[in-house]
Structure formats: C-alpha cells, structure tokens
Symmetry: D5
Subunit: 130 residues, 10 copies
C-alpha cells in the first residue's frame, strides 16, 4: 500500500543528547501552489538544527513536506509555518529553515527563518585555520 | 481568475517556416506521481524541435506540463506520452524530448525520445572551428 | 491589457512580524541608461531585508525596477536612490542593496548600500559547525 | 554628443578574404519588449560567421542591437529578423545566430537560426586529438 | 523485512518498443573488494541502453549492484561481467557500461564496455545547431 | 597477505606538539548498512583536529573506517560513535567530524559533531585580508 | 584623437556622502614590466573602498592603470604605490587593493594592502542568516 | 641582461617527425593596442598544430607574442598575421590559432584561423567510447 | 622494503580479449627535469587504450612513470618515448597519450600522441541521443 | 648553467615595512618522498604572510621548495619544518602554511601551521558589505 502525504511529524530519541551537535538536511523537492494564481511553486528547503531530546524522522518529514503539494500559500507564510511545525514536533535547541524559491517574473526569492530555545546558548564557534 | 492545468496544447503559425531552425526549451519544474508508491517524482525536461508550420505556445505548454502533477505514471511511459502529444499538436520536422529524473534509491535515470517527420532530411551540420 | 512600468511600490502585511527573519531577492534584469553617453547599462540587483510591519509585493517591485529602463543615472546615484525608495515604502528593520554592473571599459563595478532602522539591534548570528 | 541606437549596420573590408576563417561574437546585453504584455525580455546573443568580402563593424552592431530596446517582438521573430539583417549587411559565407532568452514562467527558451551562402561549401573540420 | 542483495535481475515490458529510445542510468554507489588486497574499491557506474522488448527494473538492478559488495574482482573483469549479465537479462538493441573507479596509488582508472545486438543499426544522429 | 578491516586505531607521536596546528582529513569512501532495511548507506567523512601528544596513523584509520562496511547503524549514531573512538585513541585538543550522507528519498543529510578538550582554548583566528 | 595613458586621477563629488557605502571595482587588465628581466607581468586588481567626499572617476582610473604598461616595478612596490596614489586622489574612509599576479616559475603571488582614515570606525557588519 | 621582445621565431628539429602528433599551446598574456583609440587590447591565444620537420621554440614564441605589446592592430588582422608568421617559421602539417579577446562595449569577440599544408590529409579521428 | 622506480612494465592477460573495450587512465603525478635548466617539470598524463591480448599492470605503470623523476627530457620527446614504451609492453589495438604540462613562462603546453595497430579498424561510434 | 635546488632562502628589504600588508603565495609543484615506502608524495603549498623588515625572494623560495624533491619526510614533519625555515629566514609578523597533499589510500590530508611574532597584534579585520 502506498505511503501518503501527511501533516504528522515523527521523532526518535536523540542518541547523543549530552552533546550539542548539528544536523543539516537539504530537500530539493518542495512544491506548493500560488494562492493568487493557483499555479505550482517550487523550492529547495535547507533545514539546520541542533537536536535536544528528539530528532526528526526523515520518512515522516518527507511525507510532511509532500503535504503542501496541493495547498495554496505565500512564500513568507509557508516558510514560517513549516519552521513552527518542526519546532513543535521536536523542540530543538536551535533550528533554521531556508526556502529557496524558483525564479518567478525574473525575480529569485529566498526566505530564512530561525528559532532558538530560551536559555540555550550557541557554542562559541571554533575556527581552525584552513 | 487563475489559469488551470490543462491537456490542451496551443500553437501559433511559424513566422519563418521557409527555414529549418531550432527551438530549445528547458522546463525544470516537471512533477508527477510514482504509480507504485503514490509518491512525487521530479524531473527536468529538455525539448528541442525544428518547427514546420506551427510553433508551440509556451503558456499552454506550461499548463500541459502542469497537468501531470497528480497523475501516476512511469518514467518511460510519461516521456514517450509527452513526445507523442507534442508531435500531434504541432507536427514538427524533428523533435527530441529528454526527461532527467531526480535520484531515487541512489540511482539517477534519464529518458530520451525522438520523432522525425517522414521525408524530412536533417541539415548537414556546419562545424566552425572553435 | 499590458502591465506598465511604475514608480509605485506596493506592500502587504508581514505575516510573521513577531520574528526577525530574512528575505533575499535577486533581480538579474535591471537596466538603465548612462547619463553621459545615453547608452544602456545593465546590472544584477541583490536585495536583502528584515521586514518590520510590511513586506514588498514582488510584482510591483518588478514594475518599479522596470521604470529605470529609459532613465539616465549614474551607478552610485541609482543604487542609493532605489534603497531610499524601498526603505520609504516598507520601513524595514534592516535592508541591503547590492548592484553588480556589467563590465565597461574593462572595469567591473559593484555598489553596496545599507539601511538600519534606529534602535533595531541585529541578531547575534548563530554559527553552526559545517 | 551621445551615440544613438540605430538600425544602420556598418562594415569594413575583410582583411583576409582569401581564407575561410571564423568570427565568434557574444552579446549578453540584448533586451526588447514582449508584444503581448509590454514587459521587458532579456537574452544573450551568440553570433558566429565566416566573412566573405565584408566584416561587421562592432560599434554599429552594438547600436543596432540597442535599437530593439523599446520594440515589441516575439522570440522566434526577432531572432530570424536579426539574422536576416546581418546577412544583408555583410553577405557572409555562413552565419549562425543563437538567442538564449531569460527564464519566463519557469521555462527557458533558446532559438538558433542559420544562413549559408549558395554555393559555399563548409570546410571539412580537422579534429586533432585532445 | 529488509530487501537483500541479489544476482537476480528483473525486467518489465518496454512500453514503447516500436521506437528506438535511450535510457541513461547513473549509479554512484558501486563497491566491491580488490582480489589482491581484500580492501574495498569504489566506482560510479554509467549505464546507457536502447531497450528492445524489455526494460531493466531499477530496484532489482540496485540489489544486483549491491551483490558485488563483498566480492573480490578486478576492474576489467567486473565491468565486463556486469555488462554481460545485464545484456542477458533484457537483451537490448544497444548497451554501454562505463565504470569510473576511485583513485588508487595516484592513478584514476575508467573502463568502458559496449554490446550491440546483431542486425541492429544505430540511428543516424540528428545534430541540431546549438 | 591482505590487510584487514579493524577496530584498532594506531597513533604516532606528534612531531610538533609544542604548536597548535591543524590536520584536515577527507575520506570519500565510507559505507555502512541501514539498520532498518539492511541496504548500503554511503557517506563522505571530513575530519579536522588539533593534535595533542598523538597523531592518527592513516593506514589504521582507513582500516577502522572500513570496519563499518557490514555494520547496521543510524546516521546520527555512527557519526557520534566514530568521533568518540577517535577522541579516545589520540586524545586531541579539538576534533570535528562531518559526515555527509548520500541522498535517500530525495533528502540529503549531514551530521556534524565536535569534541573540545577541557581547558584547551581555541586560538584567536587571524584573518588576513584577501 | 585617441585617449592616453595618464598618471592623473579624476574624481567627482560623492552623491551620498552622508552614508557609509561600498564601491567594489575589478580590473582584470593590469600589466607592467618586471624590473629584473624587462618581461611583461600581468595581474587582476580588486579595489574596494568606502568613499568620503569624493569618488574615483572610472575612465581616468582606467588611464591611470594603463600608465604602468611600460614601467618596470616589483609586485610589492606597485601594489603599495597604486594604493597610495588612489588614497591621495580621493581620500576615502577605507580602501583595500588586492593584486593577483599571474603565475611565474610555478608560483602564484597575490598582494593585499589597506588604508583606513584616522578616526573612521568600520561599521559593525550585519550578518543576516543565509 | 634582460631578454627582449622580438619578431624572430626559433625552431628545433621535430624529434618524432615520422608520426602525426599534436602540440596544444595556450598563451593567456597577449596584449596589443587598438589602432583607433590607442588603448590596450587583451586576449588569450590558443595555438594547436601538427609539426612537420620543425617545432616552435617556446621562449622565442613568448618574445614574439610580446612584440605586439606596443603595436596598434585590429583583431582580425593580428590573428591572421600571427598565423601567417608561425606557419612561415615552422611550416607545419596543420595549424589553428584562436584569439579570444576581452570584452569591449559589452561585446566578446573571438577569431579562429587555420592553415593546412597542401597534400596533408588529416588523420581519421578515433573516437573511443567514454 | 620500499618499492622502487623502474623502467620495467608488467602486463596481465586481457580477461575479455574477444571484445574491443576501452581503458582510460589518468596520472596527475608525473614529474621530470627540464634538460636545459635542470628544473622540475610537472604534468598530468591521460592514457586511453583498447587492449589486445595484454593489459598494463597499474603498480608497475606507476613505478615506470616514477622512473622519469630525475631524468632531463623535453616535452615532445618524453611524451613520444612513453607511448613507444607502453605500446611495446602490451601491444594494444589502439593507444593515445596526452601529456598536459604545467605553465612555464606564461605558456601552457600539451602534447598528444597516438598509436594504431596495423589492420585494426576503430569501431563505428554509436551516438545515443543525450 | 642551470640553477640548482638549494636550502638557502633569500630575502629583500620590505619596500613598505610601515604598513601591515599581506602576501599570498601558492605553489602547486611541491613533491617529496614517503619515508616508509620511498614513493613520491605530491602537494600544493599555500603560504600567507605579513612581512616585517624582509620579504621572501621568489626564485630562491622555488629552489628551496625544490630541495625536498628527493628527501623522505612525513606530512606533519615537512609542513612544520618549512614553516620554521621560512620564519627564520625573514622573521615575519605572521605566517601561515597550508600543505594540501594528494590522495593516498582513498584519504586526502591537509596540514596547516601558523607562526605569530611575539607582541604583534593582528589587525581588526574590516568587513565591507558585499
Ligand atoms: Ca517564487
Ligand atoms: Ca531551485
Ligand atoms: Ca533535477
Ligand atoms: Ca526517479
Ligand atoms: Ca551582470
Ligand atoms: Ca541570460
Ligand atoms: Ca581503483
Ligand atoms: Ca567517485
Ligand atoms: Ca543517506
Ligand atoms: Ca607574477
Ligand atoms: Ca576587444
Ligand atoms: Ca581574458
Ligand atoms: Ca597540472
Ligand atoms: Ca612546461
Ligand atoms: Ca599523502
Ligand atoms: Ca593536488
């Protein structure tokens, strides 16, 4: 039986919750509909997060992304909405979502939204010479 | 009122039908569904043709491409089907369709299909030194 | 009826004004005239901003950019002028405009101008290891 | 006094008319108007030719290209028209024009048109190993 | 239950057997063992074929490729062997296999093998100007 | 006699332990098995460290990496595990491991984990103009 | 009458002197002579500055750059000399010159020199997430 | 004592004159003057030839190329002139010169000229699958 | 005991001598000495061949390439010499050697040499649409 | 008479010692021997420094680099040794050496070492918007 698009996100226990570490995810296959014209919009999503107690399960994440396929929504709204949903599902220490939309009318648009858990302090970055 | 996805292709009279010349079209926003799993498939389409009496109208072409958004179809089938439809709409002297699908299971697949009008002889290519 | 070039910028309410988030816009199709020679100049514009209460509407932005097509103006002047107009239209928390002009006389020129709202404090950037 | 856009092409005597040799020209700054919507279109032109008795003068060519800036014309029409004009100005042994238009509606279009002088035989290309 | 590596290739009926058309497949995840040292070897496989009555099923192909994971075999041998197996599974009109191995000892090696069905005549390629 | 995959890491005395300096290592040939499906996973590993008294011996490191070839393990787990093992083998002043996994289900995943020795202070980076 | 190479730099009034903004200039056509061998040296110059009351006029800048064509001078000397001349001509708030010389004897050399006006404080950079 | 620019080309005996083989030379440092404006022009030269009894000596070739540094000459003229000089110096079986000039007025120009010795038949190219 | 540089090439029996197939080898680590100045020269070698009864053993090939490390030899001579040696060691149906030397004096040189066995007819290349 | 490899580094007086400025040098032609196997190792060196009273003379630097051609030495050792020698020759305000070694056994290694003169304070970097 085929899998289905779904708004339900799933998680699993972070196997190394003692450490701050980073998970980077790239999803080039996001598509939704323009609420004004009804035509398809396409974007690549970049998700970066520092997990706390939970990690996002990738197969459910894929189905969640798929659930926007036939929804009409603006660029700014959908990017903020996805971040809000992901933060609620696996309350992370930090999360950033970048949505890089395909060109429309000769204009390229990208939206970047972030969430930081109250009280969480980002690690001082270590810059090794390179 | 929003435009709609549509199977209807439109054409206009080739303004320079006396000459063999070439129209190259790239469409990075093709998506359909996998007939086995129901999940979305994504591809970039490359269409090259030598028009005869008619040229393809781009806005209708976009709506035609859009009409596959919620259809389940295999890679080999849909590529052949699109070529067949385009050839019927604007019987060209020559047409080639290349569908470059996104990776699935670690495998990248591309399908290339061609049509040549009976009696049409391809021009001898002129290779200038470069 | 065709749309028209226009100096009028339009806006819409920022759907997530509670958050500082970023909108990146790239416009590769800017052209104006050189005020000395009357010849066309070409540039790519990069606009980055943190919206406050209002976001820029993209279709009106496109028509605004188009309005420079037959105006004579210097690189430094036009880049500053566009920033000033955009800031006035949607007073943002922060805005940066980068204008990358095409080569002239073997020289490539790029102008970068910024605006920061009084009292707005840029977020401390979070640098995740990558 | 500023130079002006102009439909007049100028030529000079080919300094080496005894030989078949090739001139490649790339013009990234072509712009005209869409005859349906009145909005600007942008393209890069690639011109390759084998001169006969005359060569195209580049400054006049630039002004000629500039003359389309405020004309409404379709992709297929303008590409064929430019080739026809250039062929008439400097009747060449061979000429090819490629017009690579910017993306519109998620679709990238390129038109390629050629002219070959009657009786001129393209040189057998010499392929050196590389 | 997990899938398994397997030497069994599966096929399905070519939906457009009347036409010569081309299927390109890229598999960046091939690995086997060096028969001399027992150490892992890695390669990217490029498979191009013109199907006849049968097409290769991709999931079974993936499992077949996987079956070499713990086999010791030389570059020249394994490339020829895979081609032979694929040809036997879906006797194609034409098939080419390119195996691009990772660098060893400062040397990069690539093997290319082809099969052409007796009596099949490759189509005259149509070179459109570009 | 062939070498073997092995969990044993080897080290040698850091020849310049007086200085903080950096060793960057890239390993494009990591592969393990997915614990859910049993199928192969592939990744490129990027290891950066500041050695203390010991440096990692590369041949043993290669055999250690090789030892995961037939183990089933999740992305987050294996990346943390490798870092832990390497830190134990050559207790470094600082170490970062980045595991860039191949695409699965249209999603690209990368995990980044760091270790910093207690009391070690990263050098103030010197940024020369460039 | 042809223009001439010249040591005279020209300036014009900065149209937006109230703001700190940035002008980036790239000049790929710098050439001078090696004072030891007399042979030509080639470099690409990258000039970045924050204007104060004056901006550099580009045509005079081009002629100034051209004036080095037949001068013998070392890499370190000429880069410092050009910066000194440009700073004197249009005393800027900040200026950086990078000279990227072509390979000689298998070695690639780049020189970077900066000037900062006394009392001028560089703006705190605003790093938007991207 | 410094070397000097020079019109004198030098040659040496082809060590393998029995074979047709190919020498490819790229010279990114060609510069001359525009005969109309006196301003510098820049180009990259690509020279490919099949030597007969003589090969071109590279140091003398460099000095020959250098000799155009202060000469005023058109693109078409200088490319043909250099080919003629090189052919006279080392009469080759085949020679091709490609001069890729830097952009001027938004237009990029490249000239390609060839010479083939009477009676010399180009080798049938061997195309190995790749 | 360390391996040694060596002029001795080794071979093994071609496991698929019935077929014409292609072996591509890239060796980025070739170095010899300039016979005039004694200074090091560096090149990347590209070797393509169709084996007959024998294939080249890679480890011995590496040692053979290494044997030129302290020899003084001209570009044209050494490229022809290596081809001659390799042809003698494993008489192939076809072999091509390309030596791409590092820039010297601003000039990039590449030599390409081929050998074809008497009586061997290159396969008609099959060009699949792509 | 040919030049020779040499351990002797030469310097010249820094023509602008009053300023902190930066010299970047890239040397793609470093080679030494592996002390274990005797086989050649290859690397690209990146040297960045802020000169004090002395600058490194490039021809002597090239001969110094050349002197490692037949020495056996480990990656970590040779990188530290070269930095130490260069620092001693021209005591700089700051120096960084990056040695990027060619792949061995599927592993890419890079070593980065720095020296900072006691009491020298790195300049606060000026980040212009770009
Ligand atoms: Ca969009
Ligand atoms: Ca995209
Ligand atoms: Ca794609
Ligand atoms: Ca697919
Ligand atoms: Ca541009
Ligand atoms: Ca374009
Ligand atoms: Ca290998
Ligand atoms: Ca690979
Ligand atoms: Ca994966
Ligand atoms: Ca230089
Ligand atoms: Ca030019
Ligand atoms: Ca150039
Ligand atoms: Ca090289
Ligand atoms: Ca050389
Ligand atoms: Ca190494
Ligand atoms: Ca390298």
């Amino acid at each position: 039986m085929p899998t289905q698009s779904s708004k339900i996100l799933e998680t699993f226990a972070n196997p190394h919750w003692q450490r701050d570490y980073t998970i980077h995810i790239r999803i080039p296959e996001f598509t939704c509909l323009c609420p004004k014209t009804g035509q398809p919009d396409f974007a690549t999503l970049f998700l970066d997060y520092v997990p706390d107690k939970l990690c996002l399960e990738l197969k459910a994440l894929k189905n969640y992304i798929w659930s926007y396929r036939n929804e009409g929504t603006f660029h700014e709204t959908v990017t903020n909405q996805i971040l809000t949903d992901l933060v609620q599902a696996c309350p992370p220490r930090f999360m950033r979502l970048r949505a890089e939309f395909n060109v429309r009318g000769g204009i390229y648009t990208t939206i970047v939204v972030e969430h930081q858990a109250p009280g969480w302090i980002p690690p001082m970055p270590v810059h090794l010479p390179s």
